[in-house]
């Protein structure tokens, strides 16, 4: 019912806007970088004259469409880090204008205007809870081992908490690590970490745009509760061949790109590999040089523009980690994604994108000991079809589409050989089908009042074949049904309303509010703090209900000093249902009845996020502060009372500063402070079975010591020649050498077993790094 009334409302609004449109014409086209031909996502376009003005921003493919009453206008196109383009246009017929922006040095553009561009987009737009990462500033930030990393940088934003020291896992607004939808060119990346989380799967060289939605999710996204991290790969330079790369302490990387047909098509190929194990191989110690420890990944993309109306993109990612100890065990894991997209411009107002997506995550663990040999493999695979349409009318941008995803999970296969202690085992595959349709409308009601509203109708079906158990509250099998191939075992349907609005108090200040509902049908079972290579994936089922979250948020946004200072404050409250935890002694791996090990409950999270950013001048950077609370309430845990979620931290502060001393030297520093994780400390002790055992009262009621860390970095650009540029990056991680807590263990003193002690483990002290980057 709800979705039906939404649809008719939107249809009605469309018709209205059509009916009153008279003598209006549309200007449309694509905005690109003049040097590389890369489309500029989110570039703003405005047409204005003495009496009226109209504005919009480019979509994910650089396409824009803007309608205005017939007449003469000044057209202004702007994008951060680029020179602003202006042109006089006469809008007396539909206009097609493809525009290229120079990145500051070129003189391709007529006039440079800085004061009249469509600024304050962050203030005007109804979208809230959105953070965009500037890929250029990423180069200058200090990071562990000198490896720039998208996932570590977003942890410096308000509302985003680090999964752990040096870890790419993250928590958004009280959500768990598996409640983030991580997309690479629309394909789901299930495990976004390399090397147990010290690196992410995203190679900064290959990435063009990163957007993180913490709330107010637009209706085209769905499937996870707490956030969407939308990462887009570069298209590749369609003007000329270029190569760049970097040599670091732990990994090296290279990227090549160039035109296939100049101005029509291009390719991009980027690869990265670690060489820790090459160092090990060089070791004379035979027990070290037989070990394996590496990862590599490859990003590739091709695009070709057939004509102004049709463009095809093909992109893919392949990454693999290998860890092994000679004669003992081997572990490998990795993601594969492939995306084919067709852009079609039906007319100057209707833009379509069709995507075919494949993605897979797999792991294998092999025990090599002859007596106990086993190979355990597991994988999750999706086929995903999406059709997304954007319709640009006078004061509306209407977006609608459909999506279908077919999931297959192969939970665990165990194979053995010879006289192993272990038995072969194949846990039944599980199949699922997610279908969704959505419609949303971004509507400029007045100059001051903008709304973005819509609904996503999502369904999930668990499909046969297989034997499906139903478990009672004690985790015992109460019934079993056998279903055939393609049978619908269980279906859930949820409407997910999405609404956000902004009201501009002045040109530079606004207030915003949003509400959104999200559902989630793919769940990770893990005992680790954040991602681990052997995480188990399960779907919603007859036992596991879809996770559900409702979030309301309000915010105040203010820009000042010609956009160079940006401030925002947001508050949010989130209710979560059907959250998952485990019974005592749960066995999550290679367990055909793993659903019997689960417990269910609710969660709530609320907080305040403050963000102040300086975007211009010699000194740039930001301060972000989060005050928050995250709790869970699960039947069978903590006597059914609310308790602090593991990721609950009261205060999180990040201060980031980048100082451009001169064209050659850039210095940067960041400092983070966060309250210690919520942990359970013993309230007493006793002895059973001859072992000191601890008595616990309330779950996660204690705190680890706080985490504080200062990182420094300096980048020196070598003298540029026409064809070759290079730079050195020097970094110091944890410059104050503070011992931040990783875990705390309670144990008997080794030299005095009548006493116990608390022992804190810290991972990284002060770590210097150096990286050489080049480009030609």
């Amino acid at each position: 019912m709800i979705q039906k009334s939404y649809l008719s409302l939107i249809l009605f609004l469309c018709l209205c806007s059509q009916a009153i449109a008279q003598q209006k014409f549309t200007v449309s086209g694509t905005i690109r970088d003049a040097a590389t031909g890369e489309t500029l996502i989110g570039a703003t376009v405005k047409i204005q004259n003495a009496t009226q003005s109209f504005g919009t921003s480019c979509n994910a493919y650089g396409f824009y469409s803007l309608s205005g009453n017939s007449g003469d206008y000044e057209m202004i196109v702007s994008y951060t880090g680029y020179e602003t383009y202006t042109k006089k246009i006469s809008l007396n017929a539909p206009l097609k204008l493809n525009i290229e922006l120079g990145s500051g040095k070129g003189d391709l553009n007529e006039v440079v205007i800085t004061s009249k561009n469509r600024k304050n987009e962050n203030v005007r737009s109804p979208q809230m809870g959105l953070d965009k990462l500037d890929m250029k500033s990423l180069d200058n930030l200090p990071v562990l081992f000198g490896e720039k990393d998208v996932l570590k940088t977003i942890q410096l934003l308000p509302g985003v908490k680090a999964g752990g020291e040096g870890n790419t896992g993250f928590f958004v607004r009280g959500g768990a690590a598996d409640q983030n939808l991580i997309l690479l060119d629309e394909a789901v990346v299930y495990n976004s970490s390399h090397l147990l989380g010290f690196f992410s799967t995203f190679n900064g060289d290959a990435i063009k745009d990163v957007s993180l939605y913490k709330g107010g999710m637009p209706a085209q996204y769905g499937g996870r509760l707490s956030s969407v991290l939308d990462v887009k790969m570069q298209d590749g330079n369609n003007k000329e061949f270029a190569a760049e790369g970097g040599i670091g302490l732990i990994a090296s990387r290279i990227k090549v790109e160039g035109p296939i047909v100049k101005d029509k098509g291009s390719f991009m190929l980027s690869a990265r590999r670690t060489y820790i194990d090459l160092l090990l191989k060089a070791s004379p110690d035979s027990s070290l040089n037989g070990n394996t420890l590496n990862f590599y990944d490859i990003n590739a993309k091709l695009n070709y523009k057939f004509n102004d109306k049709n463009t095809i993109y093909a992109s893919g990612y392949f990454g693999q980690d290998n860890i092994g100890i000679k004669d003992l065990f081997a572990n490998d894991w990795g993601n594969t994604t492939a995306t084919i997209r067709l852009n079609h411009v039906f007319n100057d107002k209707l833009f379509s994108n069709t995507s075919f997506i494949y993605n897979k995550y797999h792991y294998a663990v092999e025990l090599l000991d002859a007596d106990n040999n086993a190979r355990v493999t597991s994988m999750i695979r999706d086929y995903n079809l999406k059709e997304d349409l954007q319709y640009y009318s006078n004061k509306h941008v209407i977006r609608f589409g459909v999506q279908a995803i077919h999931h297959r999970i192969a939970p665990s296969d165990i194979t053995t050989s010879g006289n192993s202690s272990f038995n072969p085992l194949a846990v039944e595959n599980r199949y699922g089908l997610e279908l969704a349709g959505y419609v949303s409308d971004e509507w400029a009601l007045t100059d001051k009042f903008n709304i973005l509203y819509g609904v996503r109708l999502s369904s999930f079906s668990l499909l046969g074949p297989g034997a499906f158990n139903t478990y009672n509250s004690a985790g015992e099998i109460s019934s079993t049904v056998n279903r055939g191939k393609g049978d619908f075992v269980k279906t859930y349907i949820y409407p997910e309303p999405r609404f956000s609005a902004s009201y501009s108090l002045t040109d530079e200040t606004s207030i915003k509010a949003s509400y959104n509902r999200n559902t989630q049908n793919i769940h990770i079972l893990t005992n680790a703090n954040t991602g681990s290579p052997t995480d188990q994936y399960v779907m919603s089922s007859n036992n596991i209900k879809p996770e559900l979250a409702d979030q309301v948020a309000m915010g105040y946004f203010r820009n000042s000093k010609d956009n160079s200072l940006q401030f925002s404050g947001e508050v949010y409250y989130k209710w979560m249902q059907n959250q998952i935890d485990y019974r005592d002694g749960a066995e999550l791996i290679a367990n055909a009845t793993v659903e019997s090990e689960l417990l269910y409950g609710t969660g709530r999270a609320y907080g305040l996020e403050l963000y102040a950013k300086k975007t211009k001048g010699k000194l740039t950077g930001w301060i972000s502060y989060t005050l928050s609370k995250t709790e869970r309430k699960i039947d069978g845990i903590n006597n059914g009372n609310y308790y602090n979620a593991r990721q609950d931290r009261t205060h999180d502060l990040a201060v980031v500063g980048i100082y451009n001393l001169n064209p050659r030297w850039t210095f940067s520093a960041n400092y983070i402070y966060s309250t210690g994780n919520a942990v359970t400390y013993p309230a007493g002790k006793y002895s059973v079975g001859g072992l000191t055992t601890y008595y616990y009262t309330e779950r996660n009621a204690n705190r680890m010591p706080y985490t504080g860390r200062l990182d420094l970095s300096a980048t020196l650009k070598a003298k540029e020649t026409k064809i070759y540029q290079s730079s050195w990056s020097f970094g110091v991680y944890n410059a104050l050498n503070r011992k931040n807590p990783y875990s705390i263990q309670f144990r008997d003193k080794k030299n005095d077993p009548t006493q116990t002690e608390a022992v804190q483990t810290s991972l990284f002290g002060i770590i210097p790094s150096v990286t050489y980057n080049f480009k030609f």
Binding site: L195, S287, I744, Q745, V759, Q760
Partner: protein, 274 residues
């Protein structure tokens, strides 16, 4: 599963230790923590074996974390055990907090009920004696790990295919009990000749050396007792922040008593470490 747990732990250790080679990082230090202190809790440990002899139930109290590891006995409790054949044994307090009965043995398949009355509160628990699975032998295994040769004791037994089995092992080296919980079931090894390595960490234990005298006791335990020990074993390998959130393991004794009541088989074997 022990093997698997060992691996998942050591995968992360490997990566860390290899990174440490490069980064001279990671360290441990003893810290002061502020802890809440709760009232002392009753702790009941009841063990009844299939060997005819003295059977023991100990009852004492938990203490605050900062105390030394000595636990006050609870005296004057009434302790009885009955089986499902209406036989009954009354335990007598032979030492403060230690309640025993002479010449009793448990019989395979029978369920025993422990009943403790202390300070006007009654605690009861049930446990069933499982079929004996023979502990065939022990052996020394040497694995090479990160430049060190690590010596490990393996237990060898034939798991019966026609039933679900749970095991617990207690290991002593030169007469000193290893501080680790060893518990496993036959979920992945049903019906096989099983070689189960008994891994333990060297944070609180001495590494095995050639010539050490090792004694291993193997118990066949019931499902509830297994869940108790297995939960404990998952927690002891990681402290807070490092893995499974710790909690009190699910006891088969009611009324919030800590501890367990285990009716099990018992066998011992010894080995000189090679």
């Amino acid at each position: 599963m022990l093997t698997y747990k060992f691996l998942s732990k050591y995968i992360s250790y490997t990566v860390l230790s290899l990174l440490i080679l490069i980064t001279f990082a990671s360290c441990e230090k003893v810290i002061d923590v502020k802890l809440d202190t709760s009232a002392n809790q009753i702790v009941i440990e009841g063990n009844i074996t299939d060997r005819l002899g003295v059977q023991t139930v100990t009852i004492n109290e938990s203490v605050p974390y900062t105390n030394s590891n000595t636990y006050p006995a609870i005296t004057g409790a009434q302790v009885t055990v009955t089986d499902d054949n209406n036989r009954s044994w009354t335990f007598t307090e032979t030492k403060p907090g230690t309640y025993t009965v002479n010449s009793m043995r448990a019989e395979t398949g029978r369920t025993y009920t422990l009943r403790v009355v202390s300070k006007n509160v009654t605690y009861t628990a049930k446990s069933t004696l499982q079929r004996l699975v023979r502990l065939n032998s022990l052996s020394t295994k040497i694995i090479s790990f990160g430049g060190d040769d690590l010596k490990i004791v393996e237990v060898h037994f034939k798991d019966p295919a026609d039933q679900v089995n749970q095991y617990r092992w207690i290991m002593k080296v030169n007469g000193v009990q290893i501080k680790a919980v060893f518990a496993d079931n036959d979920r992945l090894t049903n019906g096989n000749d099983v070689n189960n390595p008994l891994f333990f960490d060297d944070d609180t234990n001495e590494e095995l050396k050639t010539g050490d005298a090792v004694e291993v006791e193997m118990q066949c335990i019931d499902k509830d007792v297994f869940t108790y020990w297995y939960t404990l074993s998952q927690q002891t390998q990681n402290g807070p922040g490092g893995g499974v959130t710790p909690g009190n393991p699910p006891s088969n004794i009611d009324n919030n008593a800590l501890g367990y009541f285990s009716v099990h088989t018992t066998q011992r074997r010894t080995l000189k470490v090679q």
